[in-house]
């Protein structure tokens, strides 16, 4: 098996540390498409590579070879290192198949539950106000999707703030953001090296909705303040849901880069207070090239194996 088969396995590890910085620097719409697409493509390529490594050893098992009508003489004996690699690849593949299946079932149930909730919420308007003093707001995917806002959240925001909140949640529903986050999570389930990419997509869809809200209300600063107020209000009446602190968060007073280790809310606020992100085509092309490289290598490796098997098939007599 040529070296090409190992590259698709290594490239997710290259993309993973770049995901956070890319999410912070790219236009959020670009970043969401790019990171989701890259995660799905790299997960597919690395899974294919694992499959090829496992298959290369499997076809050399005499029983499998005779079933496939492949000549063992042409295939040649695999070296011991190849066998060990194939065993590891086979185990990783089996684990990935199990976790992906489990994730698929859980996510399907969760989405079906959300659709059901969206249908059963009172009234027929898009926005539903719940008589709950705890400040909370979210979009429920459905047909049509619904926006749930608590009375506590409404009273924490002024009128322009409420408009920003609704525009943000509408952007989530209109952009089908749950499909991006589900695809990215699926990729990260198949290949855990891609988990940082999945987290980055979770952040970029929020930024996408924030920037969309800023366009709708015509004021980025206003959206930043609405997010900050809402988060502080939600924190005030959800003390027990405290998450472990973002360790080492350092606030320097200026710039977005100082907040890269902070949680998503301060980073979103900082991004809206800073100028809008530019559209950086170079970064887009670089990541696209990385993904294309993985694809080409996986296909080359698949082609190699196919050629070998077809040769072995001809000589089987």
């Amino acid at each position: 098996m040529s070296l090409a088969v190992y590259l698709p396995l290594a490239l997710p590890a290259v993309l993973a540390p770049l995901a956070g910085p890319l999410a912070a620097r790219l236009d959020p719409v670009h970043a969401t498409w790019l990171l989701t697409g890259a995660a799905v493509a790299l997960a597919a390529c690395s899974t294919l590579a694992l499959g090829l490594l496992a298959a290369a050893a499997a076809v050399r098992i005499p029983l499998v070879a005779s079933l496939g009508h492949w000549s063992l003489a042409v295939l040649g004996p695999d070296n011991p290192a190849g066998l060990a690699v194939a065993l590891v690849a086979g185990i990783l593949l089996a684990v990935a198949a199990l976790t992906v299946t489990g994730f698929g079932i859980r996510r399907y149930r969760a989405l079906a539950g959300a659709y059901r909730e969206a249908r059963c919420l009172p009234g027929r308007g898009q926005t539903v106000v719940l008589a709950d003093e705890a400040a909370d707001a979210y979009a429920l995917p459905g047909r049509p999707g619904r926006i749930v806002v608590t009375a506590g959240m409404l009273s924490a925001l002024d009128r322009p703030g409420r408009a920003a909140l609704l525009a943000h949640e509408r952007a989530h529903l209109a952009g089908f953001h749950y499909l991006f986050t589900t695809a990215a999570r699926l990729a990260a389930t198949a290949n855990p090296l891609l988990r940082p990419v999945d987290r980055a997509v979770g952040y970029t869809v929020e930024r996408w909705a924030d920037e969309r809200a800023a366009t709708v209300v015509g004021d980025r600063r206003l959206v930043a303040h609405a997010i900050g107020r809402a988060a502080l209000a939600a924190k005030a009446n959800r003390p027990r849901r405290e998450v472990p602190g973002a360790l080492g968060a350092v606030f320097s007073g200026t710039g977005v880069r100082a907040h890269t280790r902070a949680g998503p809310v301060p980073r979103r606020v900082a991004a809206l207070l800073a100028p809008p992100p530019p559209r950086r085509l170079v970064l887009l092309v670089a990541v696209a090239a990385l993904v294309a490289l993985a694809g080409v290598c996986a296909l080359l490796a698949a082609n190699d194996l196919q050629d070998l098997l077809s040769l072995a098939h001809h000589h089987h007599h």
Partner: protein, 132 residues
């Protein structure tokens, strides 16, 4: 609030949400005139005509988001409360139970850690003040 690339229907949805939030804020049934005044900008000039407000209120009533009762010649409108927060509790229970259901919701704001809270206050220029 001009939304260039969306159909006018979304504009109607935003007006409905604005009216709904006014009624929730009020905490008592309001007449269309009172809703119109509350929606007025800081200058006091009405943003919406009386008939537009009446149309929005009637539409929300038809959607069962509002209940109304006649007082004199006009109706007074109040938001329909779900049965004592039943839906709220059901949703909250759902959120806490299943992490994957949590993941399919797009929450407006994620939970803040202690250091995030201070960061947000600093960014908003609050110092250590309470949000308000």
């Amino acid at each position: 609030m001009v939304d260039a690339d969306s159909p006018p229907r979304r504009g109607a949805g935003q007006l409905e949400a604005a009216v709904l939030s006014v009624l929730w804020q009020a905490g008592r049934p309001l007449s269309p005139g009172e809703v119109q005044q509350t929606l007025a900008g800081p200058a006091g000039a009405p943003e919406l005509s009386y008939s537009t407000v009446v149309t929005i209120l009637s539409r929300l009533h038809a959607k069962k988001a509002l209940e109304r009762r006649r007082e004199g010649r006009a109706f007074r409108y109040a938001p329909v409360a779900d049965e004592a927060g039943l839906a709220a509790r059901r949703l909250a229970a759902m959120l806490d139970k299943a992490p994957d259901r949590q993941a399919v919701l797009s929450r407006f704001v994620a939970d803040l850690s202690g250091s995030d809270e201070q960061l947000v206050r600093d960014l908003l220029g609050d110092g250590g003040q309470e949000a308000g």
